[in-house]
């Protein structure tokens, strides 16, 4: 008798890497990564049943409350989406990062940036 491989509900793990401080007007790199399988909804399990789609569909970065960078993602985006982008340091403040998953779950991280 063959038994099925069960995948329990996983918890996506978001990470951000940015400098703690930047000079005024300086461009700085923001690296974001989320451990996530980006299940496409196109695969079948060993019993021939479709594995439901579960991907991160949107990423949003806010700086001082304002959206400064966002991405829409689709099935073709690989597992563990990694994105690097650049921002210009204007004022000290909060950077907020949001990953939106199929089904409505939202993962959030925050970082304080000191502008000198």
């Amino acid at each position: 008798m063959s038994d099925r491989m069960i995948t329990p509900n996983f918890t996506p793990l978001p990470r951000v890497q940015i400098p703690a401080s930047a000079r005024h007007d300086e461009q700085f790199a923001v690296k974001i990564l989320i451990t996530h399988p980006m299940e496409t909804g196109l695969r079948k399990d060993s019993f021939g049943e479709v594995i439901p789609r579960r991907i991160i569909n949107t990423f949003i970065c806010r700086y001082g409350g304002e959206v400064v960078f966002s991405v829409d993602m689709h099935e073709a985006v690989s597992a563990n989406p990694f994105i690097e982008f650049f921002l210009r340091a204007t004022d000290s403040g909060t950077l907020e990062f949001e990953w939106h998953e199929d089904g409505g779950a939202i993962m959030r991280l925050q970082h304080q940036l000191t502008v000198t």
Binding site: R4, T7, T11, L33, D45, S46, N80, E84
Partner: protein, 426 residues
């Protein structure tokens, strides 16, 4: 994998008999001396194959294996020891049957120098071994200074456990004394390095141990690469067996581990320092020190060789195989070293008996354990081309296989290990 049959070896011997030009050994002395440096898988298989092929072809060979260690602990399957699934005794072996069964001279000493022009090897005890053909299989060494602060003293605090033995025991002790809720961090080097899937197998099997005894513990992998072999199989297994326990960070995110803080137990990347309770540093690698000292390695650290005979492209008359060789598409693994060793031994016997070297059969066979009853396998076939060794075919376990299939692969792995180590040391 194709093996040498008695008939093939017989035809090689017959070819030797028909050779018009007198082979060099017939002119020089009755027995050709082949010295093998390094008693890992590559060295052992070469020595035993030389004894077997030599006897079958009628070439009288005097084979000496130089290895300072009395016992060999296999790197392959040592992650099972870390998981608590095997004792260290079941993965450790002695060399006595090599001399008892195959008549190989064992020199329990370290080789310090190679005189390629004079065809001599200097040993630590002062003895000098002359050879007609030399085989160098020293395995790996760690690139000095590649990770700032990671020196021999640091190895005792943050073990690499990438040469099996005391280091493996040390890492296990550290994992045992780690508190539940602690963090185990692994630094993984860029390619190429010994056994590509092994860092991730280690994470899987340590997670297997944690799940039973320290269920709140976490594992963080800081990689020097952005992707790795069988990644989808590992990540699927981690979600199934150890949800939320293992996190993998690619080089593009962290910039890679550049330094260690031994006192602070931290791995340092360009952007951030990662502190952990137990730290396993797998450093960037190069060919073993003896190969470096003998001038067999190139700037990148590995030894260029002929893809069919494994004769050094730098020093003719010296063969380099196993992890130390630049074997193109072949991974640095025990199984790969074993097929290279057979090809190399056949080529040496061919040269010493004055016949054409046979076409080598190079292959890879890799089992990777994800949990106690969940393993995956890959089988690959390589061919020697003018541009080096190329991959010609590969088959890998698939996502979505049944638990029964994975249990079967685990059983196959254990059977393979018994047969393989039986051939090496039995």
């Amino acid at each position: 994998m194709k093996r040498w049959t008695r008939r093939q070896i017989g035809s090689l011997a017959a070819g030797a008999g028909l050779a018009v030009a007198a082979p060099r050994i017939a002119r020089a002395r009755s027995r050709a001396r082949v010295v093998v440096l390094g008693g890992g898988v590559g060295g052992i298989v070469t020595a035993r194959a030389l004894a077997t092929f030599g006897a079958a072809s009628g070439a009288k060979l005097d084979v000496t294996l130089v290895e300072p260690k009395r016992r060999y602990t296999t790197c392959f399957f040592s992650n099972l020891y870390l998981a608590g699934l095997r004792s260290i005794e079941t993965i450790s072996f002695g060399y006595k049957n090599l001399s008892a069964r195959d008549g190989i001279n064992i020199s329990p000493d370290a080789a310090l120098s190679v005189d390629a022009d004079g065809r001599k090897v200097g040993l630590r005890n002062g003895a000098v071994l002359s050879y007609d053909r030399l085989v160098v299989a020293p395995g790996i060494a760690f690139r000095p200074g590649a990770i700032e602060g990671y020196d021999e003293a640091a190895e005792q605090i943050m073990p690499h456990a990438w040469n099996a033995g005391l280091q493996t025991l040390l890492l296990r002790r550290q994992l045992e004394s780690m508190p539940d809720g602690g963090l185990f961090a692994i630094a993984v080097p860029p390619n190429p390095y010994r056994c590509p899937p092994a860092p991730y197998e280690r994470a899987s099997l340590v997670a297997y141990y944690f799940k039973q005894f320290k269920p709140r513990a976490k594992i963080l992998i800081l990689d020097g690469k952005d992707s790795y072999f069988e990644q989808d199989l590992f990540e699927d297994a981690w979600r199934r067996h150890y949800p939320g326990m293992i996190e993998w960070l690619p080089a593009q995110f962290t910039g890679g581990v550049k330094a260690v803080d031994v006192k602070g137990k931290a791995l340092i990347t360009p952007g951030q320092s990662y502190k952990a309770d137990v730290v396993n540093v797998i450093p960037p690698q190069m060919a073993g020190l003896l190969a470096q000292r003998a001038g067999l390695a190139q700037e990148q650290g590995w030894c260029p060789v002929d893809p069919a005979t494994f004769e050094s492209s730098i020093h003719p008359g010296i063969h380099v195989l196993g992890d130390a060789a630049d074997a193109g598409a072949m991974p640095k693994s025990a199984f790969a070293a074993n097929t290279q060793a057979k090809a190399c031994a056949a080529a040496i016997v061919a040269v010493l008996t004055g016949v054409k070297a046979p076409v080598p059969h190079l292959s890879g066979n890799c089992y990777t354990m994800l949990a106690a009853a969940d393993a995956v396998a890959s089988t690959s076939v390589f061919k020697a081309t003018e541009a080096g060794i190329a991959l010609s075919d590969i088959a890998v376990s698939k996502l979505g296989e049944s638990a029964e299939t994975r249990r079967g692969t685990m059983q196959a792995a254990n059977t393979w290990y018994a047969a393989f180590t039986g051939k090496l040391f039995g």
